[in-house]
Symmetry: C2
Subunit: 202 residues, 2 copies
């Protein structure tokens, strides 16, 4: 979390820093993003940066949290609306993230983030770990709501199903944010979901 010093800053200055950070984080993957570029662009002293943020990650996390701030709330709403149906929840999440990611000022940043999620990252869809924890907690609840429609005999198997859905949804979000025609991209996503539902065998 940024320091109070940062939050106490005049609005314009804060805005200038966040704008510069957005630009830099949209430019290259997180590891390559440089604080130097941010402070130069925002016209603050190098030392000031460290007065406001612990490091690059700190700032990045703050920006992501503010962008996807309502995500957890949204997720809970989705669960509610779809009565826990895990497949529809993933479709909803896809739609929601594409909607936010397609907004001009978010697009590059979102692409950068999704493209650079690692195979090993054990996160639902974004780098926001909190969302995962939320889902983890509601796992039993979700399991009981899905065990009658899905071919699963315990929570372990349910987790495998979630993993499959996560992997597929992620890849498709990357593709959708990348290519122009998002209607086409959505069709491909739904086709893949269909495969997951019914299987690829004839």
């Amino acid at each position: 979390m940024p320091t109070n010093t940062f939050f106490n800053l005049p609005a314009e200055k804060k805005h200038k820093i966040l704008k510069a950070a957005n630009k830099e984080f949209a430019r290259v993957p997180l590891e390559q993003a440089s604080i130097k570029n941010i402070v130069e662009d925002a016209e603050i002293a190098r030392g000031s940066f460290y007065q406001y943020f612990e490091n690059k990650q700190d700032l990045f996390d703050y920006i992501m949290t503010s962008k996807t701030g309502d995500m957890e709330k949204n997720l809970m709403e989705m669960i509610e609306n779809e009565n826990g149906n895990i497949i529809n929840i993933f479709i909803n999440m896809y739609d929601h993230l594409i909607e936010v990611g397609k907004i001009r000022r978010n697009n590059k940043l979102f692409r950068q983030i999704f493209e650079n999620i690692k195979t090993s990252d054990n996160l639902m869809l974004t780098r926001k770990e909190e969302m995962n924890k939320k889902l983890e907690k509601t796992l039993q609840d979700l399991y009981s709501k899905n065990k009658d429609i899905l071919n699963i005999k315990d929570e372990e198997e349910f987790k495998l199903v979630i993993e499959i859905l996560t992997a597929i949804t992620r890849r498709r979000i990357v593709a959708s944010l990348k290519y122009k025609n998002s209607a086409e991209a959505r069709k491909d996503f739904l086709k893949e979901i269909e495969y997951i539902k019914r299987g690829i065998l004839k």
Copy 2:
């Protein structure tokens, strides 16, 4: 490709350099691997490194090529053996990569590589792009061999199926290399494959 200068080096010197490089590439993700560490460990001058390799990537590619050198050949053999059955080919690839990756001297490096493949990486399983091209070429052939068993009506749909299999296999390779019990890990992989085959719905 490394220069001739490198290939002409006395065997011990070459070995020392490659050993140092392996160590560094196993330590951290490629982006963070430092040439400085490699040259210091291998006890060569910084300038020499650039006499041998274009840059970090050049050396990395060379090492990976030598580790998975027979991969393409293996892939073609698998295709042959399984008579083109794409699902079995993926299971074979999984087994083969786990086998190589479980060798002590490869383990850390393989983990590092698989864990750091990005969602957006359009590669089959490793960073070796050549393998992908190979598969791309045999796509029509593979399609014709799978169209009767899979629920696909054109090559585009076949590509979606391959994407699904790639995503799942990758994640499972990461898990298997990470955790001790590879028998358990393999069971989970096969379960996921079963879901892909028959669908997750009851």
